[in-house]
Symmetry: C2
Subunit: 378 residues, 2 copies
Amino acid sequence: MTDTENSVGIVTPQRFVFDEPIALEAGSELRHYELVVETYGELNSDASNAVLICHALSGNHHAAGRHSPEDAKPGWWDLVIGPGKPIDTDRLFVVSLNNLGGCDGSTGPASATHDGGDLWGPDFPQVTVNDWVETQRRLASRLGISRWAAVIGGSLGGMQALQWSVSYPDWVDHCVIVAAAPSLTAQNIAFNEIARQAIYADPDWRDGNYLAANAQPTTGMALARMVGHLTYMSADRMSDRFGRDLRSGSFAPDSSEAPLFEVESYLRYQGEQFSTRFDANTYILMTRALDRFDISDTAKGDLCNAISEVQSDFLVISFSSDWRFAPNRSKELVDALVANGKSVSYANIESDGGHDAFLLENEDYLAIFSAWMKRVAA
Amino acid sequence: MTDTENSVGIVTPQRFVFDEPIALEAGSELRHYELVVETYGELNSDASNAVLICHALSGNHHAAGRHSPEDAKPGWWDLVIGPGKPIDTDRLFVVSLNNLGGCDGSTGPASATHDGGDLWGPDFPQVTVNDWVETQRRLASRLGISRWAAVIGGSLGGMQALQWSVSYPDWVDHCVIVAAAPSLTAQNIAFNEIARQAIYADPDWRDGNYLAANAQPTTGMALARMVGHLTYMSADRMSDRFGRDLRSGSFAPDSSEAPLFEVESYLRYQGEQFSTRFDANTYILMTRALDRFDISDTAKGDLCNAISEVQSDFLVISFSSDWRFAPNRSKELVDALVANGKSVSYANIESDGGHDAFLLENEDYLAIFSAWMKRVAA
């Protein structure tokens, strides 16, 4: 298949303005907000073919296609969204948004508090997975959608999909949860905390007021990304890709801070790339939303009880080498669904792609995803 | 057993001055250096009961006993060194030193280049595992030892023990390698690199010249330690110990940078403690020594070939939950020893202690270690 054959083609983001105030879970209220959205495919006459895509920590609304023919890369989940792909735009209407608190166009810490006002910066309120579900529900209403044929997400996006099924059981026909977990572990939280500490430690962080000071905590963001990126990769894949290869082919006398190994250069590059494209306050907000997420919170930690009212048909997918949200975390969720007599299909895909595997080409992954999605009626 | 029953008691470090220049593996020469050393037990008349302890990244010479009755904690490996313990000081003479390049008394980056001279700082030459073996050999000669009854170490210390057996086969009767690996993986190197980047990013790092500026990169060091510490613990133990416990018992409104979860406070505390006690240049040097270590280097990557000349009797111990130097890395070494027809005992200890398990109480670990050490004749 060539890129154009199964691509949604050129796409254009739309902006939706919401003037009805929203009471956020953490206590504050947002009087006004905007969401940037992309849609792929056509909404059918009875609005029964709408699918919501929820993004992960560093994702955004641009999930598929290209903004212009010159774009070097398509959207972040172009692998699975498009004509003939698992999320088939020939029959499904796909909605993809930049979440509230994001930094790619939707209202967030880098936005003005009101027209011509100061920037929110670190004072932007904490947003949670529940809040995202609420904003996504309002977006659905605006689009004339009163029920999702499917809600689908990977990682933090999978947590939103799960929350949707729990919060609005009669809204979600099908629910696809990829490389996610019912909550974060202490180790997960610890890695997020190190990433935050790296940002706080940057003098250009300025207590989160870097934009007002015309500064950017790029060093801290690069470090944060290096930590995150390392947890997205499997040890085996890193060994296969970099091994112990030296940059210069030999142990040159140390020029103190120069990288010696290829893997060091790679990590530094990943960090640098990210540090200039992503807002630090959004990064903090997203990791805090992740840390706080625990689907069993409302049931005093009892996962079985927490999900007892869901009505969706579930597909849960994990990846064998994912150690950030390991297969056993997906299994916990699957076991709880089975114990409740719910409809669930589960696949643990053999892959050395680590957590990032949900974004990577893999024959089994795509075949299972495609086959299962056929039950999502258009 | 009470602490005094099986303790080596009050110990006093000694200082050894070496005026014979040493040519370092990385190319430079050190004209003069000093090593701080502790010994426990008595050297017998034919010097046949001497055991060398090699320390890990943040270790030092103070492996057992206390410096004064008021000391809150004993030496770092008091668990296994003392009367009646696996490394039994009733019959063995134990030598423990702070390695060259260290920051606890031996010559290192925080030392003066010569009496009354400038501090070495970042200009202290890179030291390798081979260099440590060489300095340890000179120390042995100074102590009247021409052969070790055993060389023993955990983590980076285990790598030194292995290197001893390879470099000086007729010097090492027994070799104990705990929670180590024949080389670092790309993932191992990547974690070390992130720790280094955290230090470099601290404005008080000042290209390594912080001491001359009367500064300390404590923020960077704390971050580096947080990264390291996280890789020493198992995910399961962290879940058991911290779970998702909140500091205040509830999601208080975010005071932006305040820790929400217990595990965050714990990590911050660990980082802070370390940041004021350890020298940053030494930390860089130690992680670089780790990264560079590859016992198969001299055999073009062929581990079997690299260890073909060893003569020691080996004990290799790994821990089931150690993901820094996972059991399969110890197994690689064991397989290579077996393939060469060498004498090796291997135990993979069931433990949730992660990499740190080699420092932690564990019945199986101590029983196996003790039983095997009985073959080390006094």
